[in-house]
Amino acid sequence: MRRSHRRRISAGARYLVLSLWAIVAFFPIYWVIATSFKPDTQWFAWPPVYFPHPPTLANYLNVWFGAEEYAATQYAISSQKPLVSLLNSSIIAGASTLLSVLFGSVLAYGVSRYRILSETRMFQLLILRMIPPIVIVAPLSLYYSALGLLDSRIGLILIYFLTTLPYAVWMAKSFIDEVPRELEQAAEILGASRWRTLFEIVLPLIRSGLVATFLFILILTWSEYLLALILTKTDVTTLPIELSKYQGTTEGRVYGRQAALAVGITIPLMIVGLIIRKHLARGFSFGMVRR
């Protein structure tokens, strides 16, 4: 059976290649999770310990709940307060993303129906996103300091909002483009104002798309590092900064603790990502993929 024979071989080869990468993709994630459950004797063990025996919750209890009895004695930790950082991250990421999606969808509506921005400008909007933030962060911090926005949540919310706006506009536009204009014309004949049409008719129709956009941008704001590093000092810390501050004051790294922290930072993101996995393509397409 030449044809089906060949099919089976290529199917087998395909499974092989895909499984190889699946292992490569998953192993680091597994390692972090496993390490977070390791007692401190197994952090640096040689040969490495692939499965913690026995698994322990000490790392989590110490990192996330400040349980002092689990504080490792050999490794003094200059700890911050992860739970506070969690709160900060949630507020900052949540608020900036919300602003981004709201503002972005209104802008997108304007672009889609009223051509307030040409196609050129839409692409130029991406410049906002593509310029390395490092080049403006110095004067920005000075400006913020003058405005009193340094080391504040609002400061971060504002800049996150601005830098994620391009994505929000592009994604929302792709959803709005698919709403038939007859609906808006019907609303107009029935007496609705343009704003009402936008908020009562168009946006509710793309609700699921907006949720996907929200979650997509949430991933970006949650994991942002550079701006948070520079624009905050002591009052406000986000989770990514928390992780980098969390190191042993002695030579070695506190792998178990860091792993527990890392897991806490990453798991929410993974859940979000998995929820919107079918919509991820839309966020990246920028008009290059014909639907």
Binding site: M1, R2, R3, S4
Partner: protein
């Protein structure tokens, strides 16, 4: 030469049977049309012949040789798709010469054959254009040209005209017919349009729910439908079908329904009593005469060449008679007219739809 045999072809998709144990033979040079309603399995069958679907069971044979194991490109077939399927990034000329390039035909010969074929389907003026610059009809001609130039033994056509309007459809239909006569190769054509089937086919294969219902020439299918479904499917306007019952009698059986009662022709003398459906084509219903039927007029439709007169036969379907020309357009609505049926053109179908 290309004689195609389908032996016990069977195809299931996720538990749904698309094609059920289908067997038939297609002779070399025939124009065969697979026709039936959507979902009857005709496209699936065509794709199995082409090699884009693997049969769950059964064989496809070309010239006696089982080809199940061959890739589409090794089967010597040509295919025209419903959506023309032209390569959008290549010019018309590049599209047409594609198959020749795959066969490594040298450039000079390619150019010549492309020119020839472009002239044959009259698209020579489009050679430099891109597919997006061609209209639907032009694009479909290009698709034809692309297949023609590779000189396959058999042409497979998957509803090539469905996306065109009525006028274009007739033009391209005539084109297909002409090509078949000129090339004398086997054409296997899939459509849901019975008119296309009637006009193009040497033989029609009527399919429904994955099975072959009837095979025959257009004349046979039209005048000798094997069941209710076939009778209803072919003909425009469709055959009049009235539900009622057969009442046996001493000299002749009678057919009785809500609207009328009529004596049945002699050949039905021994028909069994019971529920049945009477079928008669509109062109075989005559106005006037001792038919024993009188029905009120519901609607008169002058079409130019004929006039359709719709009668109320106390059932969902209108009972239609065709009158030639525009002579009888003045019939008042509601008037009762006497009708008679051409006796050798009356069909009876039993409760299961089979022809009696």
């Amino acid at each position: 030469m290309a004689r195609i045999e389908l032996v016990g072809l069977h195809k299931t998709f996720d538990g749904i049977i698309a094609v059920k144990n289908l067997s038939c033979a297609i002779e070399d040079g025939e124009f065969v049309v697979l026709v039936g309603p959507s979902g009857c399995g005709k496209t699936t069958t065509l794709r199995m012949i082409a090699g884009f679907e693997d049969p769950s069971a059964g064989e496809v044979r070309i010239d006696g040789r089982v080809v199940n194991d061959l890739e589409p490109r090794d089967r010597g077939l040509g295919m025209v798709f419903q959506t023309h399927a032209l390569f959008p990034h290549k010019t018309v000329e590049q599209n047409i010469e594609f198959g020749l390039r795959m066969k490594r035909i040298p450039a000079a010969e390619r150019a010549q054959r492309v020119r020839q074929v472009a002239d044959m389907v009259r698209i020579a003026h489009l050679l430099d254009k891109m597919p997006s610059q061609c209209s639907g009809g032009e694009a479909q001609r290009v698709a034809l040209a692309r297949t023609l130039v590779t000189q396959p033994t058999t042409f497979l056509l998957d509803e090539p005209l469905s996306s065109l309007d009525a006028k274009l459809r007739r033009e391209l239909r005539a084109e297909c017919d002409r090509l078949h006569q000129v090339l004398k190769r086997t054409f296997i054509y899939v459509t849901h349009d019975q008119e296309e089937a009637m006009t193009l086919a040497d033989r029609i294969i009527v399919m429904r729910s994955g099975e072959i219902i009837q095979i025959g020439s257009p004349m046979e299918i039209y005048s000798n439908p094997v069941n209710y479904f076939v009778a209803d499917f072919f003909g425009s306007p469709s055959m009049n079908l009235v539900a009622g019952e057969i009442v046996p009698g001493e000299e002749a059986a009678r057919f009785r329904c809500t609207a009328f009662e009529v004596a049945l022709p002699l050949r039905f003398k021994s028909a069994r009593a019971g529920a049945a459906t009477l079928g008669v084509r509109p062109e075989h219903v005559m106005l006037g005469g001792p038919g024993g039927i009188e029905l009120p007029v519901r609607l008169v439709e002058p079409l130019g060449r004929d006039t359709l007169i719709y009668f109320d036969a106390a059932c969902q379907r209108a009972f239609i008679a065709v009158s030639e020309g525009l002579g009888r357009t003045d019939i008042p609505i509601g008037a009762a007219l006497a009708l008679s049926l051409a006796p050798d053109r009356v069909y009876l179908f039993d409760a299961d739809g089979r022809r009696m």
